[in-house]
């Protein structure tokens, strides 16, 4: 990840920068801007169930609800759900643009996908308006048959 120039930028709180041994989230007193903020924004929306945020009911994705109610599913179905969720989130973010292009999303895609019984590792690549790329893996628990 490239360094971020914080001058004249609007900052957000850093939601997390890792996990403790006990798997509880750490909320450090840190701030983010630039592509870090864009990625954080993406993850926040990605894991928000659509309609659960009473303030912004259009924010979020449906994959969690789909997987929660689905019986055993094929890995292809998981990939399809994730793909739709990634596209939805990118579209939602484009409707609330920042003044800085390195905080604006240009595109998002699934870059890798591995599934075993009970879990899937979904690799997601985000590209900002300035062409900067950021890739990360989202591990999720799924009822894969």
């Amino acid at each position: 990840m490239s360094l971020v120039d914080y001058k004249d930028r609007k900052i957000d709180i850093m939601m997390t920068d890792g996990y403790t041994d006990k798997l509880s989230f750490i909320f450090p007193n840190k701030i983010v801007a630039g592509i870090q903020k864009m990625v954080q924004n993406f993850i926040l929306r990605f894991f928000t169930a659509l309609g659960s945020n009473i303030i912004d009911q259009n924010a979020g994705t449906q994959f969690a609800q789909e997987l929660k109610t689905a019986p055993q599913v094929e890995s292809g179905y998981i990939y399809q759900l994730m793909s739709m969720a990634v596209t939805d989130v990118a579209s939602q973010m484009q409707q609330v643009p920042s003044n800085f292009d390195d905080e604006n999303i240009e595109s998002a895609r699934i870059s890798s996908f591995e599934s075993e019984k009970g879990y899937a590792n979904v690799g997601i690549e985000l590209i900002s308006k300035v062409g900067e790329s950021y890739e990360f893996i989202v591990p999720i628990t799924v009822p894969i048959s």
């Binding site: 709180i13 009473i54 303030i55 912004d56 924010a59 609330v96 920042s98």
Partner: protein, 488 residues
């Protein structure tokens, strides 16, 4: 939650942050927005809504505009600031006559259910053990009485005598069950509107010193009180404050009250003397005060009543000045010589309790001798010939209920037949044969009666020597004084 209010709260939170921290990103999707602003806005909007709702309810003006939909608990809370509280109503009570086919011992449990055809439930409040010698005989059957109490508070439980009742007890022996007398004591819980009506006069001197404060205090202390008139110094009706030369010297107050809507009736057991006379004098035994003696019956045959008797106020120098109070004493002359009798009398309750209250050390007004009296009664009776497509069991209770409610709350000095007609026409299911003739029997404080019969009006005519005026008289009616005749 109102979405508009929520959005306003969200924008307010964002503005607060932007004003104080212009470098913080508050766009949707940020942690600041989704986790902090949204939660703060939700809490703020929720609290604002509660405050607005609470403020709305707390304004007396808002309640006055729409008392029916105001929350009772809120109205009670606000009006407690005026030192007034809601009257909670009372349960109707009365005697049920149980006719049985066999002369034997009967046992009626406490809490036994009696039900009218309209579905009103009443329960006995005590156990009854009736021995064969306690039974009265009627033709080939026998009967006895039990007292029952309504399931709920309210005037709708004030059924009239002879109202048929059903019960599952005494099966095999029971021939019929019916209300023996008009049920009494059923008082509706005070509505928001009625409670509000008392608010304007509730603040003031909390002593029995003026008309306003007396009215306020007595209505607060005795929720059953519906109407109050205070007669005092310089009022022409006041006769008790005359000295022995005939000058009015003041220092007396007569308080006339009407308690529940309908006069109640009570039965008193007495024995006539060798002249056919007996007296009603005992407050302890509940003999006084009475509005009128309705009828007298031999104890051996309580269903055969007589109305041929005379009543005279006795006891004090000017006994008529104490009539309708707890100090009244009455002598009744009958043609029944040395007989055990049952006297049925109409009265309004709580006169004794109110007198006790105004005489108590804490509340007594030291500059005045205060006497509590029932309003002097003019009992109205009438027979209505009517047409209706509805069955008598449905229409007649409605007619009686309407008349009782109207006449027993009427507070003018002229009762017009046209106003009675207006009330009945409001039923909208009845056609009344005209002219409608009504009779008003004035029970005078000296024991005498006068009556007026008219197709037009019954009017209270003042006689200040007897303390009679529109201030001290009221019209009364009981169900048994309403005759109904359905025409085909």
């Amino acid at each position: 939650m109102d979405i508009t209010k929520l959005e306003e709260a969200r924008l307010l939170m964002i503005k607060l942050i932007n004003d104080n921290y212009p470098n913080v990103d508050t766009r949707k999707g940020t942690v600041i927005h989704d986790l902090l602003v949204s939660m703060a806005a939700l809490g703020y909007a929720s609290i604002s809504e509660d405050i607005a709702s609470f403020e709305e309810k707390m304004y007396l003006q808002q309640i006055v505009e729409d008392p029916a939909s105001a929350d009772e608990a809120v109205v009670d809370g606000i009006l407690s600031n005026f030192y007034i509280s809601r009257k909670l109503g009372g349960k109707a009570k009365g005697l049920v006559k149980l006719e049985v086919s066999e002369s034997r011992a009967y046992y009626v449990d406490s809490n036994s259910l009696f039900q009218t055809i309209d579905g009103l439930n009443y329960y006995t409040t005590t156990d009854y053990s009736i021995l064969p010698e306690d039974l009265f005989q009627q033709d080939d059957n026998y009967y006895f009485f039990v007292e029952v109490q309504a399931e709920e508070v309210g005037s709708s439980y004030m059924i009239a005598e002879t109202t048929a009742m059903q019960t599952s007890i005494l099966s095999g022996s029971l021939v019929s069950a019916e209300a023996f007398n008009d049920f009494d004591g059923g008082i509706d819980k005070e509505s928001n509107q009625e409670l509000l009506d008392r608010a304007p006069i509730s603040l003031g001197t909390r002593a029995l010193s003026s008309r306003q404060s007396i009215t306020t205090i007595l209505q607060e202390q005795f929720p059953e009180v519906r109407q109050i008139t205070v007669i005092g110094y310089n009022d022409r009706e006041m006769q008790r404050d005359k000295n022995n030369v005939g000058f009015k010297i003041g220092g007396k107050a007569d308080i006339y009250v009407r308690t529940i809507v309908e006069p109640l009736n009570k039965t008193i057991e007495k024995t006539t003397d060798a002249n056919g006379e007996f007296t009603l004098t005992s407050l302890e035994n509940g003999e006084v005060p009475v509005l009128r003696v309705r009828n007298i019956a031999l104890k051996s045959n309580p269903l055969n009543t007589i109305t041929d008797f005379t009543v005279t106020a006795i006891g004090r120098q000017n006994p008529h000045l104490y009539r309708f109070s707890i100090y009244e004493q009455l002598k009744i002359e009958t043609s029944l010589i040395e007989e055990d009798i049952i006297v049925t009398a109409d009265y309004i309750p709580f006169i004794e309790s109110i007198q006790e209250y105004v005489d108590s050390e804490e509340s007594k007004y030291i500059r005045s001798d205060t006497l509590i009296r029932s309003y002097m009664p003019c009992f109205i009776s009438m027979t209505i010939n009517y047409r209706s497509s509805f069955p008598t069991s449905e229409i007649e209770p409605q007619i009686k209920s309407k008349l009782i409610e109207f006449i027993n709350t009427y507070d003018q000095d002229i009762l017009y037949v046209s106003k009675i007609m207006d009330e009945l026409h409001n039923l909208d299911i009845i056609n009344i044969n005209l002219p409608l003739e009504i009779t008003g029997t004035f029970y005078l404080p000296d024991g005498n009666t006068t009556s007026q019969t008219s197709e037009n009006k019954i009017q209270i005519e003042s006689d200040f020597d007897l303390g009679i005026s529109e201030k001290t008289y009221r019209f009364f009616i009981v169900p048994s004084d309403i005759g109904l005749n359905k025409l085909v």
